[in-house]
Amino acid sequence: MFPLHYPVAILMFLVGVYCLLYRRNLIKMVIGLVLLTDGVHLFLVSVGYNIRNVENPIPPILTERWLDSIPEFAAQSVDPLPQVLVLTSIVIDISIVALALSLVIYIYNKYGTLNPHEIRELRG
C-alpha cells in the first residue's frame, strides 16, 4: 500500500503555511500555526510507523500473547519513541497556542480588530 501519511502530513504543513501567509485574521493565523505543527507531528509519527519496513506493524504494547516470541514482537511492533516525542511536542504546542491566543486577546482589546494589516506600528 502506498504510504498516504507522508503526503497528508506535507499537505497539512502547506495548508498551515497558506493560512499564515494569506489569511487576514489573527485567529485564523493561529489555526494555521496549529495545522503546520500538527503536519510535522503526523510526519514524525509516520516515521515511527514506517521505520522498520514491516508489512503490518503492531502497537508496541507487550501483551501475554507475545511473551513467548519476543524477537518477533520486536520486529513487528512500531517504533514507540516518535510517539513519545510527539506527545512532548504537543504539550509544547499547547503552550505556544495559549500564549498566541492571549496575545490575540490583548491585541483585540487594544485595536478593536483582528486584521493584521490594520495593526502596523512597526515599520522600516
Partner: protein, 523 residues
C-alpha cells in the same frame, strides 16, 4: 565538606540547568512572601542570587574544559548513551553556557534599577530565569530532541518577555516573533524527524557517526538528508536573525524591554549559533556547509548594515547591526569549514568566527543596555528627539562609545581582534574579495554607529531634557563591566583566543566529542 564538594562537582552540568529552572519557578512564591512582609526588593535579590549561583556553576566546568581540555558527560538517570539523554560539556557548550549565564547575571543586575517602576516583576524574573535555563540547556545537551525542547523553552519565554509592556508595539512585535519563531522551531522538529527516520537515533554523537555511514552506503548524500540540513539551517537561522529570515528581529528587539533586547541580542543568538554549528558540522559534515555559511554570512552582513544606515530608532538600529554582526560570525566559521584548505587556515577561520561570537556577546548587550539607560532617563529611543546627553550621562556616553568603537572594529578593542582574524583568513584562502566586502561593511558599521552616537550624545540638549540626571548605580555596574571586558579582550586578544580555543575544536574534529559521549565505544 570535601565529600560534599566532590558530590556536587560530579553533578555540575545538571545543576547549571536546574538552578535557574527551579529558581525561576520559585520566584513568584518569593514575590508573594515579599508582598506579605512588605519587602519590595525581595524578588530582585532572589533572582540575583539565582543568577549568581548559575554563573558560579559554570566556573569549575569552564576551568575543566578550557584549562584541562576535558569533556564532561553527565548521563541523566544513569542511562547509558545512546539510549538516555545526556549532557555533554565541551568547548563550544561551555562558551555558549558562560555567555548565557554571564549575560543573565548582567541583565538581572541591570533590571534591579531599570524595572523598578514596573509591576509583575516576579513574572518578569520567572521568564528571564527560565530563558536562561533554556539557553544553558541548549548549549549542554547531547540529545537532539532535548535540544529542541530547550529551544522551545527559551523561545516561549522570550515571546512572552517581548510582550512584557503590553503596548501596541510590543504585542505586535511579540506576535510576529511568535509566528516566525514557531515556524523555525517546527522546521527543526521536521529535520529531527527526518534524521531519526534515516538512522533511528537521537544522540548527537551517535547521529554524527551513523549519518556518515548512511552517506557511505548510499555512495553520496541522500536527498532527504540534504532536506534535513536545509530545515535545520532555516530553523536555527531564523532564531539568529539570518537574512532573509530576519523580519521579526528588529520589531521584537525594539518592542522588548531594553534588558530583554540585550539578552536576545547577546544570549539567544549566541546559543542559536552554537546549536546551528553543533548540528550542521557534526551531522552534515559530508556536505559543503562552508560555502553555504559564507554565502549566507555575506548576504546577512551586507543587508543588515545597509538597512541599519537608515534607521531612526536607536534600538532598531542596534538590532539591524546585530544582524550584520551575525554575518561576520557565519563568514568566519564558513571560511573555516571550507573543504580543501590547509589546517592552519581552517583553524584561523574557526578561531575568528568563534572569537567574534564571544565579542559580539560582549558589546552587543553593552550597547542595548546603554540604549536602555537612555530610555530610562529620557523615555524614548527615537534618535531624532534626543541629543546632547553626553553632558548629562557621562558614564553611559563613555561606555556606549567603547561599545561603538569595539563593534566597528577599531583597535585596540576586542572587535578589531576578531574581525582581523576573519580578514586574514579571507586573504589566506585566496578569496580577498570576501575580505574586501567585510572591510567595507565594517566601514558602514562605523558610519551608522557614529551617526547614532552623535545624534544621541552630542549636539545641543533639547529643552525638555534639561533636567535629565545620571543613571543609578545598578544600571552602571553591568555597563562598566561589559565595557571593561571589551578593553581587556582588545588589549589581550590571547586571553580571548584561549577562551574560544576549545570551542572550535568540535567543529574541526568530531572524534573527541563522539568518543566522550558514547563512552569510547563507537558502534
Amino acid at each position: 565538606m570535601m565529600w560534599f564538594a566532590a558530590r556536587i562537582s560530579e553533578h555540575l552540568p545538571i545543576f547549571a540547568v536546574a538552578i535557574p529552572l527551579l529558581g525561576g519557578f520559585v520566584t513568584p512564591l518569593i514575590g508573594i512572601l515579599g508582598e506579605r512582609w512588605s519587602s519590595i526588593k525581595a524578588v530582585d535579590y532572589f533572582a540575583l542570587i539565582i543568577a549568581v549561583l548559575t554563573f558560579l556553576t559554570m566556573i569549575p566546568l569552564a576551568r575543566g574544559v578550557i584549562g584541562g581540555g576535558e569533556i564532561f558527560v553527565y548521563e541523566l538517570a544513569g542511562r547509558i548513551p545512546p539510549w538516555g539523554i545526556s549532557l555533554a560539556v565541551d568547548g563550544l557548550s561551555i562558551l555558549a553556557g558562560l555567555i548565557a549565564a554571564g549575560i543573565t547575571l548582567a541583565v538581572v543586575i541591570f533590571s534591579i534599577g531599570f524595572m523598578k517602576k514596573e509591576e509583575g516583576l516576579d513574572k518578569y524574573y520567572l521568564l528571564l530565569l527560565i530563558m536562561c535555563a533554556g539557553m544553558i540547556g541548549i548549549s549542554f545537551t547531547a540529545d537532539i530532541f532535548n535540544l529542541y525542547v530547550f529551544f522551545e523553552i527559551m523561545s516561549i519565554s522570550s515571546y512572552a518577555l517581548v510582550a512584557y509592556y503590553r503596548t501596541g508595539r510590543s504585542l505586535e512585535g511579540s506576535f510576529k516573533y511568535l509566528i516566525m519563531g514557531t515556524i523555525g522551531t517546527v522546521s527543526i522538529l521536521w529535520g529531527i524527524a527526518i534524521v531519526y527516520g534515516a538512522v533511528g537515533t537521537l544522540n548527537i554523537a551517535d547521529l554524527s557517526v551513523r549519518l556518515v555511514a548512511v552517506s557511505e552506503i548510499a555512495a553520496g548524500v541522500p536527498l532527504s538528508i540534504i532536506f534535513a540540513l536545509a530545515l535545520f539551517v532555516a530553523g536555527f537561522g531564523l532564531k539568529i536573525g539570518m537574512v532573509p529570515l530576519h523580519a521579526w528581529l528588529p520589531d521584537a528587539y525594539q518592542a522588548a524591554p531594553a534588558p530583554i533586547s540585550a539578552v536576545l541580542a547577546g544570549g539567544t543568538t549566541v546559543v542559536g549559533v552554537a546549536a546551528l554549528l553543533r548540528v550542521t558540522y557534526l551531522l552534515f559534515d559530508a556536505l559543503a556547509i562552508g560555502y553555504m555559511f559564507i554565502g549566507l554570512g555575506l548576504i546577512t552582513m551586507v543587508i543588515g548594515s545597509f538597512i541599519a544606515l537608515v534607521q531612526e530608532d536607536l534600538k532598531r538600529l542596534l538590532a539591524y547591526s546585530g544582524i550584520s554582526q551575525m554575518g561576520y560570525i557565519l563568514l568566519g566559521v564558513g571560511l573555516g569549514g571550507l573543504g580543501g584548505i590547509g589546517v592552519s587556515e581552517a583553524i584561523l577561520g574557526f578561531e575568528g568566527g568563534m572569537f567574534h561570537l564571544l565579542n559580539n556577546a560582549i558589546y552587543k548587550p553593552l550597547l542595548f543596555l546603554c540604549a536602555g539607560a537612555v530610555i530610562y532617563r529620557v523615555g524614548t529611543s527615537n534618535m531624532e528627539e534626543i541629543g546632547g546627553l553626553a553632558k548629562k550621562m557621562p558614564v553611559t556616553a563613555a561606555t556606549f562609545l567603547i561599545g561603538v568603537l569595539a563593534l566597528a572594529g577599531i583597535p585596540p578593542l576586542n572587535g578589531f581582534a576578531s574581525k582581523w582574524l576573519i580578514y586574514v583568513t579571507g586573504v589566506q584562502v585566496n578569496q580577498p574579495i570576501l575580505t574586501v566586502i567585510a572591510v567595507v561593511v565594517s566601514g558602514l558599521t562605523l558610519a551608522y554607529l557614529l551617526k547614532a552616537f552623535t545624534m544621541v550624545f552630542l549636539g545641543p540638549v533639547p529643552a525638555k531634557f534639561e533636567n535629565v540626571g545620571k543613571v543609578p548605580v545598578s544600571l552602571q555596574i553591568p555597563m562598566l563591566a561589559l565595557a571593561a571586558l571589551c578593553i581587556v579582550f582588545g588589549i589581550l586578544p590571547g586571553l580571548g583566543l584561549e577562551l574560544v580555543g576549545p570551542a572550535w575544536e568540535p567543529l574541526f574534529d568530531h572524534v573527541p566529542y563522539v568518543e566522550a559521549v558514547l563512552g569510547g565505544v563507537i558502534p
